[in-house]
Amino acid sequence: MDNYHQHMYVPGAAIESPKTKWIWRVFWILLIITTVEVSFAFWNEGGRHLPLVFQKWFFITLTLVKAYYIVFSFMHLGDEKFNFKLTISLTSVLFVYFIVLMMFEGHAVHDIRLIIPDFIIEAHQMHGGAEH
């Protein structure tokens, strides 16, 4: 038997009663965060009350909070050794960093197309730099 299996099933042994309070606590947290996200999107539709930039960061932050609860509670990463937590979470955080990074990059490319005069873009397209 492996050293990490703390105990094995003994036939006929009494079954303990379930301890599920923490599961439902995490469930309510996830549900409330999702409800907040959706109602915020309705309330601030098209940036009526607050700038859309703020809305983006707000949603990304709440998503990371949700991801933390799913990975550390539901997937039991919180019970693993510290170095294993690092192995998984550092890698995953870099994904989100890169998504946000490329959102900024796309925004910059969009703005640069507004600054460059049209005839330069057209000349570029005529020489095979096809767009769209």
């Binding site: 079954i15 997937m75 693993e80 998504i99 969009h110």
Partner: protein, 240 residues
Amino acid sequence: MAHTATAAPTKGIWGGGVAPFNISYGKMMMWFFLISDAFTFATLLISYGFSRNKYADAWPMADNVFTHFPFYSGHIKLAFVSLMTFILIMSSVTMVLAVEAGHRFDKKAVVKWLAWTVVGGLFFLGSQTYEWYHFITGTHEGKAIEVFANGAWSEIMVNGANLTYNEYGHQLFANFFFFITGFHGSHVFSGVVLNVIVLIMAMNGTLERRGHYEMVEKVGLYWHFVDLVWVFVFTFFYLI
């Protein structure tokens, strides 16, 4: 477990038979598979984030596109995606309840909660089919778009979206929708298949005879990952 030979004490820490991080081989490999899977999802979301901002002027707002709701003839924003999110969170909860029951060797509870997880997964797949159907069919009015065929530009009326045209806006929006939700949907599908296999194993008593319910934990990890990806798709595709 029968197949793991106990390491002789003389072999030392590099001689095998040692569990790194004190985590079982199967679970650790599942974690590493999930990380590698996350790479694929991340590339899709990274390129989505780039294109969405680059073509911001022609990009449709997702909550203006997906407004259908079953048994309701009007249009309602975000409601159906929120329902899908709720279904997936709920099935994640039933999965974690199955894992908890496995820790207590409660065969009946494992079977019950795994079965509910399968039901949740099937509901989610059905919802996705509904969403794809409405996106592909499109609005009644349709939209006139310019197409280049036989050496000349002409205007045609299109309804809905596919990989060649998109009535709602930029073509990449449709492509990303099909690729991201399609890739996620195929993960949900394989997750349901794995859950059914483990459900049958639990029902037959295979896991009980094995002495532990680690198989439930392993498919549980995969299932939670699918839920986790949906949380990100929900934010980056539908909300932002």
